[in-house]
């Protein structure tokens, strides 16, 4: 059914199991990430894995792709048990994986990242021209305008994710595992990816897909599997499931992300950004002459496509990026001259977008990460107060529902979504008056999202001003009093919470991008 020879074992009839896990268990010390899981991957179809943060999804995928070895259980490939010593061995069997946490070398170009470890050799060493040609073709396929020679560190997060996807595609594997590949992608980019996935499955490639965007995942999946606390709790083919089924099996109850909090008086303007311009390295304005106000108790959502300038807007307000013009006024006082730390002390804090790069210190424990931004608050004289810090850490862990062994666990032992919760918890612990969140729901499960929304709503009732940046319209509609749409560095429209999805998306330029 496919002219490609790279799928040697493709049988005419799709749907049979190509790769399976039988009774796979994985423990880290006395953390049991997987407790005897069975999992099937069907030929030429998409199997989606659902589950809360820390349920064991990434762990299972790492086992299947040879990145880690299971404590017990076996992996069956084409009906025969196999053992993968490492990821390269699995790749030789045609299995590749897109990791949840990006694994790119930031200093290398897009091309070099895509061919890292399997460089194409010509007569005179590496055949860079051919590599570049193939990279260009992949980018075309993904409808992305990225030059193969750009260093990866110059790309925004979503584009880096595209590179990661392209790298997995370039291998021509017959089993492709995607662990939250779309967490930083815009709706139109996701559409393109889904088109690519449909092409792949039509050629007989089998896909495993993980995502916390449940609706989105439902549109592509053929089979759904739900993991809960390291056990497989439910399995069903697409025809038998709906959103409610997934959520019920995932968390046991249904979540309503609700509507913006109301029934209280908003205060005066807490954060006022006036005529702000932020240039990129070459001097082109990413944010142009932008003004907006957020009142105490108000939740304002900044919606826009990737690259609309939302991140730059928030980073300039937080003090990370230099601005060329404009004012940032916090509760009536200009704060432009203050450092990031001083702004945090005054109550203006940012939850950054990229948790690995900007959010977490990998060498420190969960607790130390949580208390890092608020450490001034429990320093008396010269010394920090252990008891106060411990209490803060425990409260934070409970408040943002981090699934961890305790404050002393290393940050790398947390699942991706739980790491994200630590970044949010860290900023909430500073007791901000104005909180800015840049795509905070990246990788967190529906329960945690509801919890974060609840915390924000609660805060708002007590006068917290919230500036929430997202590329998901649904999030805007369920939390924001006011929705500001950004397009190419400017505000293109403002809506209240009664707006429709279509109106908002149209104002963002989604139509022309897609």
């Amino acid at each position: 059914m496919s002219p490609r020879t790279s799928v040697p074992d493709a049988t005419p009839e799709p749907g049979h199991v190509v790769l399976a896990a039988r009774n796979v268990a994985k423990s880290y010390g006395n953390v049991h990430a997987l407790k005897g899981v069975n999992f099937d991957i069907h030929q030429g179809q998409v199997t989606t894995l659902f589950g809360e943060n820390g349920a064991g999804k990434s762990t299972l995928m790492k086992v299947l792709s040879g990145v880690i070895q299971p404590t017990s259980g076996e992996i069956i490939l084409d009906g025969r048990p196999v053992v993968f010593g490492n990821a390269a061995e699995a790749r030789d069997h045609g299995i590749s994986i897109i990791h949840q946490e990006l694994s790119l070398a930031p200093n290398l170009s897009v091309r070099d990242n895509i061919f890292m470890g399997r460089e194409l050799h010509g007569t005179t060493g590496v055949d860079f021209a051919e590599e570049e040609r193939q990279t260009r073709k992949l980018m075309e396929e993904l409808e992305e305008n990225i030059d193969p020679l750009t260093p990866v560190e110059d790309l925004r997060l979503g584009q880096q994710q595209i590179v990661e996807i392209a790298r997995a595609l370039s291998v021509n594997s017959r089993i492709l595992i995607m662990d939250e590949p779309t967490s930083a992608l815009s709706a139109s980019e996701v559409e393109v990816l889904f088109k690519v996935i449909r092409d792949l499955t039509a050629r007989g490639v089998s896909i495993v897909y993980i995502s916390h965007h449940l609706e989105e995942a439902l549109t592509i999946t053929d089979h759904a599997v739900v993991l809960r606390d390291g056990n497989m709790t439910a399995y069903a083919p697409r025809a038998e499931i709906d959103l409610e089924w997934i959520v019920r099996n995932m968390v046991g109850e249904n979540y309503d992300l609700g509507s913006p909090p109301n029934g209280y008086e908003m205060g005066g303007v807490a954060l006022s950004i006036r005529n702000l311009s932020v240039p990129d390295a070459s001097g082109v304005d990413l944010v142009r002459d932008l003004s907006l106000d957020v009142r105490a108790g108000e939740i304002v959502c900044v919606y826009g496509l990737m690259g609309a300038g939302r991140t730059e807007l928030l980073e300039a307000a937080a003090g990370r990026l230099a601005k060329t013009g404009g004012e940032i006024v916090l509760e009536g006082r200009e704060v432009s001259h203050l450092s990031i730390g001083e702004r945090i002390a005054r109550g203006l804090a940012l939850v950054p977008e990229d948790r690995q790069r900007d959010g977490l210190v990998q060498t420190m424990s969960v607790g130390q990460n949580l208390s890092l931004a608020s450490i001034r608050n429990f320093t008396r004289g010269l010394f920090t107060q252990h008891r106060a810090e411990k209490k803060l850490i425990q409260d934070s862990i409970r408040e943002v529902t981090v699934k961890t062994d305790g404050g002393d666990a290393s940050i790398g032992s947390l699942s991706g979504g739980n790491q994200q919760k630590v970044v949010i918890g860290k900023i909430l612990a500073t007791k901000p008056r104005v909180i800015m969140l840049d795509e905070p729901s990246r990788g967190i499960d529906i329960g945690a999202k509801a919890e974060v929304f609840r915390l924000l709503a609660e805060g708002a009732k007590q006068g917290l001003a919230v500036l929430y940046s997202t590329s998901e319209v649904g999030e805007c509609l369920s939390i924001a009093h006011r929705i500001i749409v950004m397009h190419k560095g400017r505000i293109s429209a403002v809506f209240d919470s009664n707006a429709s999805k279509e109106q908002i998306m149209a104002a963002s330029g989604e139509a022309e991008a897609a």
């Binding site: 880290y28 010390g29 006395n30 953390v31 990434s58 790492k62 990145v67 880690i68 990821a87 990791h99 946490e101 694994s103 937080a318 990370r320 450092s339 990031i340 730390g341 001083e342 702004r343 945090i344 002390a345 804090a349 940012l350 950054p352 790069r357 900007d358 959010g359 977490l360 210190v361 990998q362 060498t363 420190m364 424990s365 130390q368 208390s371 890092l372 931004a373 450490i375 001034r376 320093t379 010269l382 010394f383 920090t384 252990h386 062994d405 305790g406 002393d408 666990a409 290393s410 940050i411 790398g412 032992s413 860290k426 500073t430």
Partner: protein, 347 residues
């Protein structure tokens, strides 16, 4: 609860003394025990209180440098200038002891010893701050900046003395500047002052790292500077402070050394920066920043000091001493990579 290997390796000393962690950081500790046992067996003079005190007073020099180096390395940097600052400090103190001639007034000032000590520390702080500013504000890579300062400081020390050594640091009673040798020779309760100085520096640094906000900032900016900055850590100030502290500790080491030798020469302390780095590494710190403890570093300094003194005592040639020291360093780094290699990062 938390006894996965990952959790343990990522834990940082909190000042408390606990056996499990000591065993884990243990290799430097065991190395020290082995060294002491072997040399005690080979030489009857090794295992005596007086020898330990003498060896410890030698360790004091490396130890002081190593504490400064630890701070810098935790912050993700490196300081190659400590040996040169040590020499510059010694020479400056020597010059002040000879009297400062104010030609315009036609008088010679003889500052008292305490003033010499303070001024020398200020000088060390200044040179360290130059390092810090070059690195944090002008974004010169730490290796290059401190390499440059290493040459400049050494050169200035040579210029100041024309390559000669100050041999008379005793001062004169009539000028009121006697007492410089107290640092190197006196004892309190039988313990050499230099060892007490080292102990004080180690305790202060240890408390600072484990209990103060500054210590936390230091670890954080060494582990991930961007994340630290966005959490409100004043990363630039921390960096300047770290190099300044390293400069001050080098100056103190310079004073102690000059006082122990009763002379101050511009070539003192050559390659000491490497010894200090070795002590830090043997003590389990990661050269990439963010991980390491004062306790480990102190053990590292003692391993190096007791090893080299032991080799001298049993009469091994200095060539072999170099070989042994090198082997110990490589062994330690090897174990570091084993320890952090299976660490808690997700692949």
């Amino acid at each position: 609860m938390s006894d996965t290997t990952n959790t343990q390796t990522a834990k940082r000393s909190t000042g408390g003394f606990d056996i499990a962690r000591l065993l884990l950081e243990g290799r430097a500790f065991f190395a020290l025990i082995v060294i002491i046992a072997v040399f005690s067996y080979m030489s009857p003079n090794y295992f005596t209180t007086s020898n330990f005190l003498i060896m410890s007073s030698h360790v004091a020099i490396y130890g002081l440098l190593a504490i400064g180096m630890l701070l810098v390395i935790l912050n993700g940097g490196i300081d190659l200038s400590v040996g040169s600052i040590l020499a510059l400090a010694g020479v400056s103190a020597g010059a002040m002891m000879q009297g400062i001639e104010l030609q315009a007034l036609g008088v010679i000032l003889y500052p008292p010893v305490w003033a010499v000590v303070v001024l020398t520390c200020v000088l060390g702080a200044f040179v360290g701050a130059v390092n810090g500013v070059l690195i944090s504000i002008f974004k010169v890579p730490a290796f290059v900046a401190t390499l440059g300062v290493m040459y400049v400081a050494r050169g200035v020390a040579l210029l100041m003395t024309n390559g000669l050594t100050y041999n008379n640091l005793a001062g004169k009673a009539e000028f009121g500047n006697t007492g410089f040798n107290w640092l190197g020779f006196s004892r309190i309760a039988g313990i050499p002052i230099s060892v007490l100085v080292l102990a004080a520096a180690a305790i202060i640094a240890g408390l600072m790292l484990s209990r103060s906000a500054f210590g936390r900032w230091l670890y954080a900016s060494g582990g991930n500077e961007r994340a630290a900055e966005l959490s409100g850590v004043p990363t630039r100030r921390v960096k300047i402070a770290v190099y300044t502290l390293s400069g001050i500790l080098s100056a103190i080491a310079g004073l102690v050394l000059a006082s122990q030798l009763t002379s101050a020469g511009p070539t003192a302390g050559q390659t000491y920066e490497l010894t200090a780095i070795a002590a830090v590494v043997i003590g389990g710190a990661a050269l990439t920043g963010g991980r390491g403890t004062v306790r480990g570093t102190m053990l590292g300094a003692f391993v190096i000091g007791f090893l080299s003194d032991g080799l001298v005592i049993i009469g091994v040639s200095s060539y072999w001493q170099t070989v042994f020291t090198g082997a110990v360093i490589v062994l330690a780094v090897l174990m570091n990579s084993l320890q952090y290699g299976r660490g808690g990062r997700k692949v």
